[in-house]
Point group: C2
Chain length 435, copies 2
């Protein structure tokens, strides 16, 4: 479909872009270098008419035709030859203002901006619906992985029950190096920076902010509920040690930074934290900088989508896919074809309300009676222990404790009890277990 | 998107179905039981108006409203209240006739029929284009995995270079049991039949016909080329032994029935055969009855989609996704939104022209000088040996030989030479290596 070889194609769609960084440059390059092939697949041509940058005079990696570069986003939004506005500048403002203005002007908008969609997605989708136009944002989650379209279109017959994702390539690369090469967190971070998989300030990735924004977007489209980035509970990976990972592996688990959104009885769970995954879980073998999302739907069962979650090429693939979608709608007078009617109000649960199994990595005094006291801390809170592994280190012993499912609030009380025990030398990590 | 809570929805789409087997029953059940939720997501309701079956009087697992069941497919196609015709009867005829008539009548058509699409897909897509309507067929490949939409829409900006898939759940289940439990082929087949993953006559699955049909469909949409099931080279899995699989594992490989379609210099490769996959390949850990497809695109890189490839629920998910797509187009007057303009003519290569590394499992006489003679058979055809593993079994020795990349024609000549050597007791299997 979408292949029109050797046929005259009178249809064209004017594309304007705001921003020309890594993603914008890749999008422009793709449209300019592969325009004919894309036109064959799309059923009409995509013409890059305007690109707004802060400094139009500066030299660029991609050679744009004369007159395309402008210094003002409004020159893109206001150009009557621009049908689709592509926002790849990132950040909340002025991106929000530009997108809002473009929608109000009846333009179709394609954005790769996760910060914007996670914070203001609902407002912007409502603005698009009010203007009778399209807002597409596939590139805001999972780079080139077609997850938004899968949820909104392919799985429209399903009730989505759960989404479990590895949504941040930087942290997945770091955890992969720690697991595979025994690196410490700091060393693996430096390796990620050298490979270009981590920014010089990697805070947003390491502390789970990036994954939380993406999860908020997925939860919104999957559950039809309003979930913003600030609703998502977050724990980062900076406290994970190579020793935790090695112990987890001995027990048959991988350690991943998971993003979990789940429909549960009282509301919606939305959380990003390091977690143990059984070695045979579909996400356990997703390594390096790759992202993957497992969607559990009824009646489809589990569907897993995997690919490169960042970088110019994969993100440009998603942006151009969205531009083609927008163009096809404009050519057929079908903008707003995927009606957005607003979100259902379901509460997002506090982390204390979730129920999962846990794994605790402790260091305890290596002498008789200690075990009984540690076990009592769990028993007193009715948290049931599933298995215990102990390794003597001389004065102390490493203890790895796996629990059955327990309410987070109860587990937090167990930890307070453990901290108060003089025989517990350290609580290295407490990880939730997925799958 | 597609969520319209508490809003009056005047839009309805009449659905007619031909066939009420496993898939049809699941589709009807989904539309009847979850109609309201699907309507919220779709932006309008899907109303099941007519279902044609051979014996309307027979008792059914799904309770349909009075008057819905009819005995004649033409009563579905000709009903003015039916907007979308869902063909889930399977087989080439009369399905082809019914689909053709429905398209000519301006109905949108959704089919789950791989046999039909693999043999006549191009003709039917052209008929849909001529009638200005839609033909959707997501359910014909990979059950609930949204692979057709991913290729045609999400990845429209990419040049698809290669598709590697595990497209048949029956054979994947059999190979999984052979690998995991050491079963022989026959024993694993019986286990698959007991689990309901294999038909009583499993020929179409075992010999690769089913996977070949699905690969033809994917190659057609991915490459914009005409590839029909008969173009696909096929080898089945019935000659694979548990011993081959055990040896492969020792060498770090899994054995899978792979479907490979690739753009190569002289044309298109399209082949289904058992193959060795490196243990860290994304498809190597796809087990049981699951299907998965790896799409290699430029610029997206590798994208892997995994899920249940068969069964009522997953297939119904894909069918209903397509019905929603068709309904959204009808509501917006945008049928034929994904223009099909015909296929590019690129030749499908003969198997002798492909170039891959090989793995040969031989049994040879266990005495001096044998190795040199075996190696010479490779050397004389300029097929370069990458590694050799030998295990004595007394009189004979098992030899596993891995080659560097070689042309299939050369490898076939090597095999003829080996068969002519008196020191070669048996050639157990020769498998292509992927990844």
């Amino acid at each position: 479909m979408g292949i029109v070889p050797g046929v005259a194609m009178p249809r064209a769609c004017g594309v304007g872009m705001i921003g020309l960084g890594t993603v914008g440059g890749a999008v422009a390059g793709l449209l300019l270098r592969h325009g004919e092939e894309i036109a064959r697949r799309a059923g009409g041509s995509l013409v890059l008419r305007r690109v707004a940058v802060a400094h139009p005079g500066r030299p660029r990696a991609v050679a744009l035709p004369d007159g395309v570069l402008v210094g003002d986003a409004r020159a893109v939004i206001g150009d009557p030859g621009v049908d689709v506005v592509v926002e790849v500048m990132g950040g909340l403002e002025p991106a929000r203002t530009y997108v809002t203005e473009a929608l109000a002007a009846g333009k179709s908008v394609v954005t790769a901006n996760k910060v914007l969609m996670a914070a203001r997605g609902e407002e912007l989708l409502a603005a698009a619906a009010a203007a009778g136009t399209d807002l597409f944002f596939e590139a805001s989650v999972g780079g080139g992985i077609p997850v938004v379209k899968a949820i909104v279109e392919s799985l429209a017959g399903n009730e989505i029950r759960e989404i479990v994702g590895i949504l941040n390539g930087t942290t997945n690369y770091i955890l992969t190096r720690m697991a595979r090469d025994g690196m410490g967190f700091g060393e693996a971070l430096v390796a990620a920076q050298r490979q270009g998989f981590a920014e010089s300030d990697p805070t947003d990735d390491i502390d789970g902010h990036d994954a939380a924004a993406k999860l908020a977007i997925l939860a919104t489209v999957a559950f039809g509920a309003r979930v913003v980035d600030e609703d998502v509970y977050r724990e980062g990976i900076s406290r994970i040690t190579a020793r935790d990972i090695a112990y987890a592996r001995e027990l048959g688990y991988a350690v991943k930074l998971l993003a979990v959104a789940r429909q549960s009885d009282g509301g919606i769970e939305a959380r990003v934290h390091p977690a143990l995954l059984p070695a045979d879980h579909p996400l356990a073998a997703v390594n390096e900088e790759f992202n993957a999302i497992m969607i559990e739907g009824d009646p489809v069962g589990p569907v897993v989508l995997e690919g490169r979650g960042a970088g110019g090429g994969p993100t440009a693939s998603a942006v151009v896919g969205d531009i083609v979608d927008a163009a096809r709608n404009r050519w057929r007078g079908a903008c707003g074809r995927l009606a957005w009617g607003g979100a259902v109000r379901r509460p997002v649960l506090e982390i204390e309300e979730i129920v999962v199994p846990y794994c605790a990595f402790l260091e305890v005094a290596d002498r008789p009676g200690v075990f009984a006291r540690v076990a009592a801390a769990f028993g007193d809170e009715a948290v049931s222990i599933a298995s215990i592994v102990q390794k003597s280190r001389g004065e102390t012993a490493d203890v790895v404790l796996l629990t059955h499912e327990a309410r987070e609030a109860a587990m937090q009380r167990v930890l307070r009890r453990l901290r108060a025990l003089d025989v517990v030398a350290a609580i290295h990590a407490v990880l939730r277990i997925a799958g």
